[in-house]
């Protein structure tokens, strides 16, 4: 054992990232390091580049400039299968093909671990079982994914990513279009992954208050830049919400947990203020 271990590179890091679709540039020079063992949430208005940043970090979008480093190596130049053993991705609104069973879907998470000739059936079965148990979908194992409710379906997709057994997990809007109760349950599940299982999670979320309640770390984006980042208690402030979202809001605190909550001001109050264009 070394007395002074050389500093390990961060697990996932983006450096001066520029990216976009066709001619439209969405990310304009973004630097980011994802905190290990934490749940980080990317927040920002529509078109701010948060999904683009997540896709670039997950290597499904190639940046026009800058680099993404996974354990110190350029992710876009690494073997995609080797990357998939360390980094899992759940894109926005995935759709399972008709007739696919839950167990088959979760089993697909084993893809990067299965070679053409070698595959460890026991290890695969154990990983699939564990992932289904953690997300509480074991009872649906033989049902078809398309026959389940939205929340159950999303738990199955998360189980697929968990079966991949990666320490890093990136999820793009995993709670969109779900009931509030289902969103809360999913976020509680994801935060348990970070806090009890040491996984590093990066999420794009739309709901400000849920993000403030469950994130260890918030990253606020606007117009392809990171405006500010830090723990919710530090950066989830009325000033920042105004800067990032153009949102007039009070920030109060949950008496039970202490997490910040934003309460938008009513529209007529905004309109009555001088100098505000409605």
């Amino acid at each position: 054992m070394m007395k002074h271990p050389s500093p390990r590179p961060p697990r996932l890091q983006g450096a001066s990232l520029r990216a976009g679709y066709d001619a439209r540039r969405v990310l304009d020079g973004v630097d980011i390091t994802i905190a290990e063992g934490k749940l980080t949430v990317l927040l920002g208005p529509n078109g701010s580049g948060k999904s683009t940043l997540l896709k670039t970090l997950a290597r499904t979008l190639t940046p026009s400039a800058g680099h993404v480093y996974l354990d110190g190596q350029d992710i876009h130049r690494s073997n995609t299968r080797e990357v998939a053993k360390r980094l899992g991705l759940l894109p926005q609104g995935p759709v399972a093909p008709e007739g696919l069973s839950v167990k088959q879907l979760v089993g697909m998470g084993r893809f990067p671990h299965q070679g053409l000739w070698q595959k460890n059936a026991q290890q695969d079965a154990a990983a699939i079982r564990e992932a289904m148990a953690f997300t509480n979908v074991t009872e649906f194992a033989d049902r078809n994914v398309d026959a389940l409710s939205g929340g159950q379906r999303q738990r199955c997709w998360i189980a697929m990513v968990l079966a991949q057994q990666t320490d890093l997990i990136l999820l793009d809007e995993p709670t969109t279009f779900l009931d509030l109760k289902v969103q809360v349950d999913l976020l509680a599940l994801l935060s348990r992954l970070a806090h009890e299982h040491g996984r590093t999670l990066l999420l794009v979320l739309h709901d400000l208050n849920l993000a403030a309640a469950y994130a260890d770390h918030l990253v606020m984006m606007r117009d392809g830049h990171i405006v500010t980042s830090g723990p919710p208690s530090d950066i989830f402030t009325a000033e920042n919400l105004q800067r990032v979202f153009d949102l007039e809001a009070h920030v109060i605190h949950d008496p039970e947990s202490g997490s910040p909550i934003c309460v938008p001001r009513k529209r007529h109050q905004v309109a009555s203020e001088p100098g505000v264009v409605v």
Binding site: T60, R81, A84, K85, L90, P97, G99, F111, Q114, T138
Partner: protein, 349 residues
């Protein structure tokens, strides 16, 4: 609690492989029965016992000639053609993620048809001294390849998008269909007649040489398709999910598309424009074993073989002494089935 859930999980896996095994057995039996029946029936009356003795002890008799040189190569070719078309369709439907995809729809068949009809037209002109009818399969395959490359390059935009392949394929198929019709209209009557029979898809006068021509393509493509079947299964979850799972999307898609084109091109080269097999067979197979490509491919192949063998049998014996192209009967079942599929997929994304 965990104990029982473990049990459900594993018994589920066993059910799937049982279904695959049962389907393979059942279809193989049906295929063997159909092939046996086809071997016994024909314009020349033969008894099952005579057929059996001709098979086991080939002699220089009329029956031995009929069995070994006329019926057997035709049945074997029918099996191979059906299997190749069905596998091609199964691959296409899975990588394009569209149940309506098939080699006919995305332009592979029409490319082969245009090339074949062009070749037949040239045969009836003064160029005929330079050309031989034996090169017809090569011309058809070349047409399938060119058409597939055209579809792929026109559909190209930062990679190959499945939905664009279907749209471009349909457009190109229509254009090439028009070209084929034009050629038939302006060519001589005899050439037009041959072209029509070819277009319908016929196994008439199949020879062992045709079997030997088609066999290598199946032998080469099958292991590649099976090796990449998991890639296709992952791509069925969407490109981004597949990329997240570590699938080299572009490479895998090109390889699978290449196999699909080679299989359909080779089948069409030797049996003409047999349409609908590539569409129907994978659907029936999916009803039996689901959409997992490694299971779907062998089951589709058997279903496809079964369809073509029986269609050809019908064409040979139902309207004696006329020998009708198998394609008529495949299309007769296929067209209504296609309409049914369209009807069923209404209102779905």
């Amino acid at each position: 609690m965990t104990q029982s859930s473990t049990l459900t999980y594993e018994s589920g896996a066993n059910n799937e492989s049982n279904r695959l095994l049962h389907s393979l057995w059942l279809l193989s039996l049906l295929l063997a029965a159909s092939a046996g029946l086809s071997l016994c029936l024909g314009s020349f009356p033969t008894q099952p016992l005579q057929v059996l003795s001709a098979l086991t002890a080939p002699a220089h008799s009329d029956i031995a000639f009929i069995i070994w040189q006329l019926r057997l190569p035709r049945i074997v070719l029918a099996i191979l053609v059906g299997a190749a078309l069905a596998m091609s369709g199964a691959i296409l439907q899975s990588i394009v993620r569209n149940p309506l995809a098939s080699p006919d729809v995305v332009g592979i068949t029409s490319g082969a048809a245009l090339a074949a009809v062009l070749y037949l037209t040239l045969l009836s002109t003064s160029l005929s001294t330079l050309l031989s009818i034996h090169w017809l399969p090569a011309a058809a395959m070349l047409g399938a390849l060119v058409s597939a490359l055209l579809v792929a390059s026109l559909a190209w935009k930062n990679g190959i998008s499945p939905s664009r392949v279907v749209l471009v394929g349909i457009g190109l198929a229509a254009a090439m269909g028009a070209g084929t019709t034009l050629l038939i209209v302006i060519s001589e009557d005899s050439a037009a007649m041959t072209a029509y029979v070819w277009l319908t898809g016929s196994l008439y006068a199949a020879q062992w040489g045709d079997v030997m021509g088609l066999m290598p393509w199946l032998l080469a493509a099958t292991p590649v398709v099976l090796a990449f079947s998991r890639h296709a299964d992952a791509m069925a979850l969407g490109d981004q999910v597949a990329e997240g799972l570590g699938v080299p999307i572009l490479r895998s898609r090109m390889i699978l598309l290449g196999c699909s084109v080679a299989l359909a091109g080779a089948a069409v080269a030797f049996a003409g424009g047999l349409s609908f097999v590539g569409l129907i067979a994978p659907h029936l197979a999916a009803k039996l074993v689901g959409r997992n490509l490694a299971r779907l491919v062998p089951v589709s192949a058997l279903v496809g073989a079964l369809i073509v063998v029986n269609a050809d049998l019908l064409g040979r014996v139902a309207f004696l002494p006329k020998d009708l192209p198998a394609g008529i009967f495949v299309a007769g079942i296929g067209a209504p089935f296609f309409v049914y599929l369209l009807h069923r997929s209404r209102g779905r994304v």
